[in-house]
């Protein structure tokens, strides 16, 4: 397929996934706040902090509170990380490859964009609570993914979409975990309390993982939650799952056998896959979850750069000595 088309499909899919994860992110915070004493109001700040754009936020909005953060993360057209901006980017990418994806998929992304745009236009969707609105965003994204899976031939176009979706998802699941780990653990006295359980359950709920977790582990414990969200091979939002399946799509695109590599992207992703496969939760926690997540995100970025260079013909910052590695 055309490199430009592959590039757009990959990003279309990443941006939809990004919008969905943002909605999950905000929703979990909303839920947490409803369930806890008022002194936890400061929950909103970490959300701004994870974007890395707190300077922009402060200049434009001042002190963080619920409605400001929602305006910022959902409706702010001038902020490129907001849900509306992500959907706009997803839709513009889809528009340039309308002929390469199915009409149904295009119509869905178009409708999705208009739904959120319409809500921002009215400031808040009428007759809809905030939580329902975020549910609707999640549903729209899932509908899009379902349509893509059911109407697009599972050839290289679909694999590029899948690759974008899973790399984005791995990144965002780790981020949700990172933020919550950071904000939930400051007070060791809370560990093991009802409040703690409540908070970790809502983290699991935000990635639709609560029920699966319960079946596997029953009681909530921080280590188990980390193990589940990072190392589970079967849960579709767990990091390991995402990496394994992204790796399959990457090999389907190039045609090289699994567990071998012909290009830098396959090499980098394969290494990451193996690292996770032979890791365990204790070593992750002992080494510091935050450090682990940082490292994971750097590696995911490097995979992304290699994909852009090899398949989309984009020049990136990849060091040339590394890109000469070839299998025989």
């Amino acid at each position: 397929m055309l490199s430009r088309v592959a590039d757009s499909i990959y990003w279309m899919s990443r941006y939809v996934e990004r919008a969905e994860n943002l909605a999950r992110f905000v929703d979990v915070t909303l839920n947490l706040i409803l369930d806890q004493p008022s002194h936890f109001e400061s929950q909103w700040e970490p959300l701004v902090y994870t974007t890395g754009d707190q300077e922009y936020f402060e200049t434009r909005y001042g002190e963080a509170d619920g409605s400001k953060v929602i305006e910022f993360l959902v409706f702010d057209r001038d902020y490129e990380g907001s849900i509306i901006s992500c959907l706009n980017a997803a839709r513009e990418n889809a528009r340039t490859v309308r002929e390469a994806i199915s009409s149904e998929a295009w119509e869905q992304i178009n409708q999705f964009y208009h739904m959120v745009r319409g809500a921002s236009h009215r400031q808040q969707a009428e007759n809809q609570t905030e939580s329902e609105f975020f549910d609707a965003i999640r549903e729209q994204s899932q509908l899009f993914n379902g349509i893509l899976d059911a109407t697009l031939s599972h050839a290289s176009g679909w694999h590029f979409a899948n690759l974008g979706r899973l790399i984005e998802r791995a990144d965002k699941t780790s981020r949700i975990l990172d933020v919550k780990y950071y904000t939930l653990l400051p007070d060791p006295n809370d560990v093991g309390t009802t409040l703690d359980d409540l908070q970790w359950s809502s983290v699991l709920r935000s990635v639709s993982g609560f029920e699966t977790y319960r079946k596997q582990f029953h009681a909530i414990s921080v280590d188990k939650v980390v193990e589940f969200l990072v190392l589970d091979r079967h849960f579709p939002r767990a990091v390991q799952f995402c990496i394994n399946h992204a790796d399959e799509s990457l090999h389907a695109i190039s045609g090289s056998p699994l567990n071998t590599f012909q290009n830098l992207a396959e090499q980098r992703l394969g290494r990451l896959k193996s690292e996770l496969a032979y890791s365990d939760v204790q070593s992750i926690v002992n080494g510091g979850l935050h450090e682990f997540v940082d490292d994971l995100q750097v590696k995911l970025n490097e995979v992304g750069e290699a994909i852009a260079e090899i398949f989309f013909g984009r020049t990136t910052k990849v060091e040339s000595t590394q890109s000469q590695t070839q299998s025989n």
Binding site: M1, L2, S3, R4, V5, A6, R77, N88, E92, R95, T96, R98, E99, A100, S103, W106, E107, N110, Q111, H114, R117, S120, H121, S156, F160, I253, F311, G313
Partner: protein
Amino acid sequence: MSGKLTFEGYQTEGFHDELFNNRGQPRPGAQVLVDFIDSLPEGKLRERQGAIERALHRMGITFAVYGDESGTEKIFPFDIVPRIVEAFEWNHIAAGLKQRIRALNLFIDDIYNEQDVLKDQIIPIELVTAAASFRRQCIGLRPPKGVWCHITGTDLIRHKDGAVYVLEDNLRCPSGVSYVLQNRLLMKRSFPLAFAESNVRPVFDYPIKLYETLVQLAPEHVNNPQVVVLTPGIYNSAYYEHSFLAQQMGVELVEGRDLVVKDGFVYMRTTDGFQRVDVIYRRIDDDFIDPTAFRKDSMLGVPGLMNAYRSGRVALANAPGTGIADDKVIYAYVPDFIRYYLDEEPILPNVPTYICAREEDRKYVLANLDKLVVKAANEAGGYGMLVGPHATPEERAEFAHKVQEDPRNYIAQPTLSLSRVPTLVDDHFEGRHVDLRPYILYGKDVWVLPGGLTRVALRKGSLVVNSSQGGGSKDTWVLADVPEQVVDSEAERPI
């Protein structure tokens, strides 16, 4: 909304109406439609009109409203009352179009090669060489089978006298056919029953006919030719159409930056490396397709494309250079070309045209500016035009000056009265002026799509149908000579 929508009280107001005769009775082909609309329950037609508009929105057939920060988008206006062309009329139009396209292709091939038409003094040489769209780079080109213009969208109008005239030939990159197909799809969903009974001819096979036309152009030794559509990109106003046609034909939609010329062949950059391209349906004007041959500042084109084309290693549709016959001065000679090349009388007349380069015509034009429409020879889309009867004395004086300065660049035509079709206006029907753009493909033979784009001037009294100036579109129903012809009856169920 007040009461039922019917045609009761509808006035043709002395214009030629496409659905009603001058006594206000439905024309024979329109009877089924008129009865059908009159029989609809209250509110139904409006509801269907609304449903169609929502569907267009959903399908993203929209354009951004310039300067609106909140991202508002609008659809191209669509009117639910179709225009009907009866079989006998269509047969006449189609025959006229086929004849015209043959003659125009012979002319273009001649003018870039033997130039017999100049030697035999059918048209003065200075009128040809002075045309802004004459491409010296095309001299000596021999496109396969002598066909230069494979895709045409001719603009027709019907005057008060009931006759159909050719207004423009549009031999470069005519757009709008995607609207013909989408309008039909939406109308079939809305009125399956009226379709079945009206014997409307189908238009759905245009993309496959287009594909067949394009595949035939491939260099002869190529098996499984790779066909692509070349678009200027997402910001072009016809981008939706480029994407739609590529999708419907099942071919790649490429931009200039996706293509590269290597060792004389054209390739596209794919995730598996370079792939050969054999046929390009280009929706980029001549000037922009190859910066090494035409405009050097073009960012849209492919350097080296013209050389690959010249050596027969890639085919282009349409061929470069066809714009020469779109020049409005050359247009005036098309009836002469038909007589000269085909030895036939033109079936469809031209709009009478005064050529300002001729002294006698110029005098007449300058003396009658208040009655005439003056047009620049190389403009389209309603630009560079003076509509005399509606212009101010200052505007007329300005055009008089322009004509005297550069007579070769101007022609004038009488102000024609365009026919009308009933159109939904608030809670009733009013007549609105329309034109008609049929689409013609020229591969092995000439094929005319039985349908076309009916553009409608939605503003009361307006004669300007261009979408940039308040125009919309309607579905165009070409009726079959029952029972031999195929009919578009496999309508979808109502939604």
